[in-house]
Assembly symmetry: C2
Homo-oligomer: 89 residues x 2
């Protein structure tokens, strides 16, 4: 039972970043996105990735690799937007 619950949880908290990455990409509206959040979260997911490697768990590595790519995408767009605003003044 707990394994199933764990897989559902991992799927939802990983897949959740797909609509955000798509929404940010499509609308380029990142004003409501917190830069500190995505910075901390992306680094944190990087640590989960390293954790998965250390314990030799493919599901942990796989889920966090996807989350890492998606949250890095949002983070990259947010940084790009901040740079654009700063240098267009």
């Amino acid at each position: 039972m707990s394994i199933t619950v764990g897989y559902i949880a991992a799927f939802l908290t990983t897949a959740a970043f797909v609509p955000q990455a798509w929404y940010s990409w499509r609308t380029r509206d990142l004003s409501g996105i917190s830069l500190p959040m995505y910075t901390m979260f992306t680094i944190g997911v990087g640590f989960w990735l390293f954790y998965g490697y250390l314990i030799g768990s493919v599901p942990v590595i796989f889920a966090n690799l996807i989350t890492f790519l998606l949250s890095s995408m949002v983070l990259g767009m947010k940084i790009q937007q901040i740079m654009a605003l700063r240098f267009n003044r």
Copy 2:
């Protein structure tokens, strides 16, 4: 070593939601926030909470309880904003 890496990962991916919840609360700017993301993510964290209960892990319960509260806050503000827009037409 892996335990330390896991705790750092858990701390970062949990604490990351504090600046987002604070930013959303302070600015009420949630236009860039994806409703499907926060809906899926909050439900997913709920499953992690249940998973922590099933395996009897206090750190998993504690970290996900905080994340659940913070992501629910952002989700609630986003829903509130959508309702306000819909009924103010």
